[in-house]
Symmetry: C4
Subunit: 191 residues, 4 copies
């Protein structure tokens, strides 16, 4: 099976996820600058989630470069990943509207954690097909960033019960770690 | 006529259908965990519908692999299928908000039934073009799963008038039956 | 310039237009069958508009098959067409919520008329590029269906001031006329 | 890395941005012509923003014609551009609902300005990859239109504090300047 439609469908879903988040920025009724002030937390959470979805799209793009075919398991692992990412707009909206309080911060972390686990499963399925000696398997290898992210998410979720602000800092840190595109695959493929 | 744009348009519509369902998960006003409790049925119905649309996308993908060209009848049979699938978000929302009561369960079944009938018509049009000896015709052949699903949907719609919970179990069963991707086509094509 | 992205962007916009119309079908609060009754006119207008957008997508698809390249004028003529079609969801919603009364019927006709004019301009630009001797020019030729449609729309808009039901019948007639896919281009291309 | 998915994802996001703006045109409750009158400013701002997003799509399309590969920096510069453009629907809605008053006009200008800056950064990244002697670098060259636009936006934002109507005229002027598609690249590529 060719990978073309998997990419097209994922691009569609990710494009919609990243764009419908902006619908949470509801047009305020006032016409002065003060009317925008209550939107600042919603806007900040939008920036954070836009970055996360952008990171997933970037990594998805990079990874599928190294793949030539897909199978049924990969299709479902991809849908599973898209399912968790599709909950990002909801978690973002809840977090933004409640000004980064405890439970919204926890839920946001859970959605990010489940997305990260889903992405790990997706990578496993890709490697299972390509083989342990494939360039992809070498490129992913230890998956250092992936493991660190999972650790950060779990820590952040637990810490949120004590101090949600620290959790938020951890989420931002993960975004920064991933912001640098995944050169592993690029490097191995070029070799 | 090439099949490229049929795939692209269907991918777009299916991606939007699967994603706008998440808009039914309206951001709650409270900030504690209790605020999420009323959303559980909406969330469960979202999982079920996400799975169904995912199944349709998977099968659509598999089936069109076996096709090289499309004609006007196929384009309309495809639009007819997308029409019924486009009603899934509405039926899902009504079912979730009313905690799986009788009539929403019936409507949900009707939308799934009509989608299944539309998919059968779509397959017929594909086979009519490819010929009765084509790999696709052999792969679809008896369409065992398709016939079982239609039977399950009709049973579930009728049973809902008596006990809607059983109908829900039947819908989940159909999803499980189809969850395993359609290997028929893969197998025949590989031969 | 290649036509690939023109097709992809148009597919995206048309897929969204056809799908966001379903958002007008707002989930009713009641849980019995009676709660669906007020939605019948909204649903009927959805069917009509789904058919119209489907027709445009079909014809757009057919026509671009005959084209190899696009230029700046074609890109803008296409955006102009998408602009008018993007107003279809609004006109559909207004018509459905007001049970097909006078002014919503007029507005619906105006949006359809402007879309039809925009499509005519789009075809002119395509022919201007391909040349008067091109297969496309021969296929479009007299554009019988296009002229009839314009006539029907104008008649329907004027009649709506007297009896909006007749206008609605005329809109349905245009949809039926176009429902049969545009064989002109298929035929000429096959030759 | 091939540019195919960058184009597909951008087409998806731009198609959604241009289409969800129409959701701001909320179906009015009245059924007579007067019910549409309050929507005129919302509609006018929709036309303006549709034109701007259309211009960006056109230029994005033209520019990527001249590119063969993309790298990680280009992917992020593109996401950065899409981020600012994704705020256009919000700024458009606020401006339309407040009948083009001061602060909404300022915000609209800021979003356009940031989008223009993001597009300039995107072009820089493309040229950095293609080299200073590439056809693209020659085509963009002095980027006369880009510099004029930035000047117009800054002037408009400052003037809005005094007379927002003049700012609106400046925005329309920029749209007119860009309406003519970017022949620079077409010309150089043809050579």
């Amino acid at each position: 099976m060719s990978k073309g439609r998997l990419e097209a469908f994922s691009d569609g879903v990710l494009a919609i996820i990243i764009t419908i988040m902006v619908l949470e920025l509801k047009v305020p009724h006032g016409e002065d600058l003060a009317a925008l002030r209550p939107m600042i937390p919603v806007f900040l959470s939008y920036i954070l989630s836009f970055t996360f979805v952008g990171i997933y799209w970037n990594n998805h793009h990079h990874t599928l470069q190294a793949i030539h075919q897909v199978n049924g398991r990969i299709l479902w692992a991809n849908l599973h990943l898209l399912f968790w990412l599709s909950l990002v707009p909801f978690a973002t909206g809840w977090m933004g509207e409640n000004h980064f309080t405890q439970w919204p911060i926890v839920l946001y972390g859970v959605v990010l954690l489940m997305s990260a686990i889903a992405y790990t499963i997706f990578l496993r399925q890709l490697i299972a097909q390509e083989g342990q000696d494939s360039p992809l398997a070498k490129a992913i290898n230890s998956d250092f960033k992936g493991k660190i992210s999972l650790g950060f998410y779990i820590t952040a979720i637990l810490l949120a019960l004590w101090n949600p602000r620290i959790s938020l800092v951890l989420y931002v840190l993960v975004a920064i770690i991933w912001f640098i595109p995944d050169r592993r695959i690029e490097t191995v493929l070029t070799e």
